[in-house]
């Protein structure tokens, strides 16, 4: 009784992940794909490196740069995966015109989209790993401290990634009911998170009202937790009152909350799309 649906879910995830791989990664020579995965994180890392260096009169402030580096590197999951999921809806609906055929198949859109996100997760992971290696080998950064539990680091990354995926599903729901040019809004949202999470600066420089917003975002706690695990110290004084355990709890609860919200939200958006006949909408003008 249980094996059937689980097996079917696995089949849908596998098939959509395969499709995602073909569409996102397998269209080009491997080196072009590799460049896609690493050019952006490396270039952004270097931009930040030189920004710190020029202020420090030629010597990068290694300790501060380490915090900026970690935040910027792991934020790659947000930009890649968050945008990737909602982008899938637009592309399937309007470029490939396949969304309606997938929709009329006995496949739930939600696992389909999660499967399609697999390649984005893989690409982001590759980018993160290459950036970490680059930071360690080229920029000479120390990643991790003697007490770092690497298994916990992986756990924290996965927990944050789950949050990103569910937020991506929320955006995908919105994408189902809005025109393609609203993609700008999704990209803007990613920029807003980049700003509010303090990915590349200490939260404390944000104006007070922005800081309050920042404390509502799970990614704020995620990046702080990763920084503490990998450097042994926190970056934001505003989060100083939270212990590591608190950050874990906040992150876990936020992920569960996002999951619940995403499930309800996506269902609602799907219903609106079906009520208004938007599954095969063409808005490319």
């Amino acid at each position: 009784m249980i094996v059937g649906p689980v097996k079917r879910l696995a089949q849908v995830l596998r098939t959509s992940a395969w499709l995602g791989w073909q569409v996102e990664a397998n269209w080009a020579e491997p080196w072009i794909f590799l460049m896609y995965a690493i050019a952006k994180p490396l270039a952004t890392t270097l931009i930040l490196f030189f920004m710190v260096r020029v202020v420090s009169q030629g010597h990068a402030n290694a300790e501060t740069f380490r915090f900026i580096f970690i935040g910027n590197t792991f934020f790659l999951y947000v930009t890649e995966v968050l945008i990737g999921i909602s982008w899938t809806v637009f592309r399937d609906r309007e470029d490939y015109e396949t969304l309606k055929y997938i929709y009329v198949a006995p496949v739930r859109l939600l696992p389909y989209l999660l499967g399609r996100a697999f390649t984005r997760v893989a690409t982001a992971t590759l980018g993160v790993l290459v950036a970490l290696l680059f930071g360690r080998l080229v920029l000479g950064l120390t990643i991790g401290v003697p007490g770092t539990n690497w298994l916990l680091v992986v756990g924290a990354v996965l927990l944050g990634l789950l949050g990103v995926l569910w937020l991506g599903i929320i955006l995908a729901g919105i994408s189902l009911v809005v025109a393609r040019h609203s993609m700008n809004l999704n990209e803007g949202l990613s920029g807003l998170f980049f700003l509010l999470c303090g990915a590349i600066f200490p939260l404390d420089v944000l104006p007070r009202w922005a800081l309050h917003l920042s404390l509502l975002l799970p990614f704020t706690y995620w990046l702080e937790l990763l920084r503490r695990m990998l450097t042994g110290r926190g970056f934001a004084a505003s989060l100083g009152r939270y212990g590591d355990g608190d950050l874990w709890w906040i992150l876990a609860l936020a992920t569960v909350g996002l999951c619940a919200l995403a499930l309800v939200w996506f269902r609602g958006c799907e219903r609106i799309a079906r009520e208004r006949g938007l599954i095969d909408w063409k808005t490319n003008y």
Binding site: R8, Q11, V12, T15, W18, L19, Q22, V23, N26, W27, Y96, E97, T98, K100, Y101, I102, Y103, V104, A105, P106, V107, R108, R271, R274, E275, G277, I279, D280
Partner: protein
Amino acid sequence: MRALQGVDLEVHRGECFGLLGPNGAGKSTLIKILTTLLLPTSGRALVVGYDVATEPFQVRRRINLVSGGDSSGYGVLTVRETLHLFSQFYGVPGPVARRREEELMEITGLRDKADARLSGLSTGMKQKLNFARGFMSDPEVIFLDEPTLGLDVEASRDVRAFIARWVRERPERTVLLTTHYMMEADELCGRVAIIDHGRILALDTPSALKRTLPEEAAFEFQVSATGQDLEPLLEITGVRSISHHAHPGTGAVELKVVVQEDDVIGEVLGRLKGLDRSVLHLTKMEPTLETVFIHHVGRGLTDEEAGNGA
């Protein structure tokens, strides 16, 4: 504006049912509702006994859809990969899927292109692939929305032949077809519904629909060129009109007689003999679906109105 109102129809299992209507009549809206792409604002629609609004997943397990004119698909995938991909979304076991891929590629003439990427296919080829995709799940009900739209004559014939064969070989399977082409509906459908402005205007077998036309019958004769004038035929009670002209090839006269009832034709034959005209050929002219359509809708299929975008 309501795209559909008061539509009440039942399509039987094993039937090939046609929906005829001009642009904006509501055909596509109906198909969208039945394929779970659109929720009805009111009323109820069941497919294979499942409510499309409340049990969409049960419906989707049993149906498939082909929208004609679509050249949709992922450009990086090959023909074979595309067919396999969609079979997996329906949970078709691997060996079965592979067998169907081969069969469908053979039937649609895509075998030579099996390993070609979609981005390199012509529009016609992509449409054929889209058609094949619809049958990969061997659905209990297939919705074909203008399946031959944009295809060339030969490809359209192949598609029609495939549908006819599929229906013949699988008597439990049901086809719901919308088309602009009357001949297509006449050739394939057991019953057709004529729909306009969201309402069903007529619903029956093609021959029964033709019989609903005013009770006149038209006969076409070929009679010998020599003999007396044909005008006295008009004196026969029940003859409505006659028209005639010489056939340019044979020199025989082609005579068209419209009579009130079929019985009158016996008297016409007798009178022709009296006029020294020998009858070389006689055909009863059947009304076509086109005539039926014009009779019900008041305009031809391709005459557009300001539609509701359905």
